[in-house]
Symmetry: C2
Subunit: 495 residues, 2 copies
């Protein structure tokens, strides 16, 4: 072996924009994803786990706003042992691009339509920011090869079921559906000859949330003075020309039939617009037949986010309850999932168009929502800690922990240096142990153990009055033979 | 936007050495890991999920046989938007190096000892081969900061519990424990002055399995004629000098006390050897007190694999039942987990030595073992498929699937082109659907549906006699109102 030079100590840190997940952060997410997977599975969706690494060629350039090749992804070039350079590889940036590759690769073996769900980390080589990481979880369900909008309706129903399965109450969420084709119909109605700047029209529509109806009218017409004082040029449409856009944006009625009637007016004679509205009507009918009413899923033309990416129906799940943001402001929780119908997914590989539709749940946002609703333990239950009073009797202590575990109680023996008993109790605190078990020579001789109720102790220290303290002693002596039963009794009291 | 040149179609393939996992391949592994995690959790171990990406600096060079820096891992250099080059990053190649980084980074916040489990993919930039992939799962549990061998005993007990939890029967596995210090003691006894070639002695010991006692004697002495006809030079020890090695290799007795007595003879006056044997004795005592007898965990000096990496106790879990390999030969299943005590894990970051011990389960091998034992479904249960006889009545079919799902039955509506009914049944076959539901105009008018028992149909096609076919019709007509009850009845029969 060559002599190794003494090197400076490495820095113990994740790379910028990456983080670790500890204890309950891992188990809570897992519990949530398990519930979602159970719903997806019940709908006939099969699990798929693709490799984290793809060829850059297969991934393609799906990422928006990518100017440089490979920018936005973590990529590297294969190098053989002899130094010969090979394929460029990259970490997947979403779960949809790998699905396209899988369907193209295995299309002869997979059922068509192919319903699959996938959950796992994806990686983005982007500038990290607060709460914005370069590795994060996605949770997707897609149906590939189903041209019927029944597939879109199914995805929306499944999404509602999934949100309720993880604990979001009915009434606390709303799934809103729109259709890219309707928007195209509106553009045709506004500008049949294709003379206007359609991108500018789309940008104006996108600002509806911020500037309202009057603002959009200005943007479509002569222009608008921004809140910042900047003047934004208008598209230059006449008031009459702008009318279909306004009709579209304000088309939402109390029930689906009213909305659909308003939309038909907005698209006028446009064939593509009519097709889009027919699709929305079919979706509404299918969902109503399955019992998904307007309290859960609605047709809402204001869903425009990401429309550019999609080719047909689009949907978004929004949590409607209020929460406080990091600055203490009350806000609506907002979007936790989105999706829609997209074509040309598989076409780049095979030349054949394959219709597909799917949804992606924002795992971190939904987790945050559950926590905001007080759902799911923020902390993992700590183990019962068996303390070590006599190093030579480790076997006795291990036997206690074994007994507890056999009864399904999470338990461990203190395995640090037992000399300082205070350190053992500090350790138990750090572990959020509900109970510490103590058996010194005296207890051993008398056939008893001491049980320290740490959960109660913590509560007393925080808030309980002296009377409560007296009536519920935080430490009890019990017969060694009753260890399991007595620990169980304390744990039941803590719940 | 710049005009995009027409490019050749990308190849739909994973990079070399990577693969995808479909359906039951995903869910079976998940079910197995869930059971293991439950055991680890009950032992007081906390989940940890580190980022897949680490700095090359933090990862260090833990991989064996690595000559080139960064070889063996997938690595790339950070590049800022302005093109400035930054840190080298890499995908983790195991779960232990990230644990070292985490413990060093968060040691003031983490409890000590820190018990953690981790499960997830790791990546190796190695030449792929048959059954050898560049991304695979590991499943680790480690205790950091516990100097006591009680921690090692605990890991062994927990490993036994984990194997039984996933379905490996007692008697079908054996955990064997050895101690690196005992081997060091033997080397001291053989060669107190450090004059002999110790690496050559270790290589000879490592060949015990293949060449037996006489073969090792030859290798330690004058040399040995290989089966291939090649002559292997001996270490040049005298017979008397070689005796401790032979004593060590043949020290295993029926029970732990006998083995320990034999080992004490083998290490002679070596202090480190005596320390190692004392540790093994403590481990044996602790495990016996917890009820882990020689039918589950034994002291076995023949465990030498990976000894070089470890500094104290080492352990290996072996499955003792026979299986047939890919060439049809009967073989013992062999090792599915291994681990031991290692120092200097955290020291490279902090300068302070932190004792640690842990185990890693070979996820793919254990999964293969479960399948060899007929445990765990090799296939996911397919959904009930509601066929589409009349495209206009999609809402009716969706309502049926919804009813079935609400009763916990996996179900879906056929969403491909419904024109060719044969295609729908082919699809149901491909999905391994147990039942197809059929409702044409005639059935609708009469308030009934047809249920096609596809599982039974498949069985009849394979093996059943005509009589059985007659007594159990593969298609029944039932009242529409009884859909759920009748499907459930068929599913129960199929189990």
């Amino acid at each position: 072996m060559a002599k190794v030079k003494k090197q400076p100590r490495p820095k113990a840190a994740t790379p910028k924009g990456f983080r670790d997940y500890f204890g309950a952060e891992v188990t809570m997410r897992k519990a949530m994803l398990d519930k979602i997977a159970a719903v997806y599975h019940r709908y006939g969706f099969d699990a798929l786990e693709t490799s984290a690494v793809e060829t850059v060629e297969a991934l393609g350039k799906f990422l928006p706003d990518v100017e440089r090749p490979n920018a936005g992804v973590f990529a590297w070039q294969e190098e053989s042992e002899t130094g010969k350079m090979g394929d460029w590889l990259a970490l997947r940036y979403d779960l949809t691009a790998p699905l396209a590759r899988v369907f193209a690769q295995f299309r002869n073996d997979l059922p068509t339509p192919y319903r699959r769900y996938a959950m796992g980390p994806v990686w983005r080589n982007e500038k990290p920011g607060p709460g914005r990481f370069r590795q994060f979880y996605q949770c997707d369900a897609d149906t590939v090869g189903a041209p019927s909008v029944a597939a879109d309706a199914e995805i929306c129903a499944m999404l509602a079921d999934a949100l309720e399965a993880v604990g979001i109450a009915r009434g606390d969420y709303l799934i809103r559906i729109n259709n890219r084709k309707v928007l195209n119909g509106v553009l045709e109605a506004v500008d049949p000859a294709g003379e206007a700047d359609r991108d500018a029209i789309l940008r104006s529509i996108d600002k509806f949330d911020k500037v309202g109806e009057a603002g959009v009218r200005e943007l479509l017409g002569k222009g608008r003075l921004d809140a910042s004082g900047a003047y934004i040029d208008g598209v230059g449409l006449s008031d009459a020309q702008a009318e279909p856009v306004i009709g579209f944006l304000t088309s939402k009625g109390a029930e689906a039939p009213e909305t659909l009637t308003n939309l038909r007016a907005a698209v006028g004679d446009s064939a593509i617009g009519a097709e889009g509205i027919d699709e929305l009507e079919t979706i509404a009918t299918l969902l109503a037949a399955q019992g998904y009413g307007a309290d859960r899923i609605v047709i809402d033309p204001s869903v425009v986010r990401g429309l550019g990416y999609y080719t047909g129906p689009v949907f978004e799940a929004e949590l409607t309850f209020e929460t406080t943001d990091e600055k203490g402001r009350v806000r609506q929780f907002g979007s936790v999932a989105g999706g829609g119908r997209y074509d040309d997914l598989v076409k780049r590989f095979t030349g054949q168009a394959v219709p597909a539709t799917g949804v992606s749940i924002g795992v971190d946002r939904l987790l945050a929502a559950l926590q905001a609703r007080g759902l799911g333990a923020a902390e993992d239950a700590g183990p019962v800690v068996v303390t070590v009073m006599d190093r030579a009797r480790m076997a006795d202590y291990q036997a206690m922990a074994t007994e507890l575990r056999k009864s399904g109680i999470r338990a461990e023996v203190y395995l640090g240096n037992p000399k300082n008993f205070g350190n053992q109790l500090k350790y138990a605190d750090k572990r959020r142990a509900p109970v510490a078990v103590i058996e010194g020579a005296d207890e051993k001789a008398r056939g008893v153990v001491q049980l320290k109720d740490l959960a109660l102790g913590a509560k007393i220290a925080q808030s309980a009055s002296l009377e409560e303290w007296k009536s519920q002693p935080a430490q009890v002596e019990v017969a060694r033979a009753d260890l399991v039963a007595e620990v169980r009794r304390i744990l039941a009291r803590a719940d």
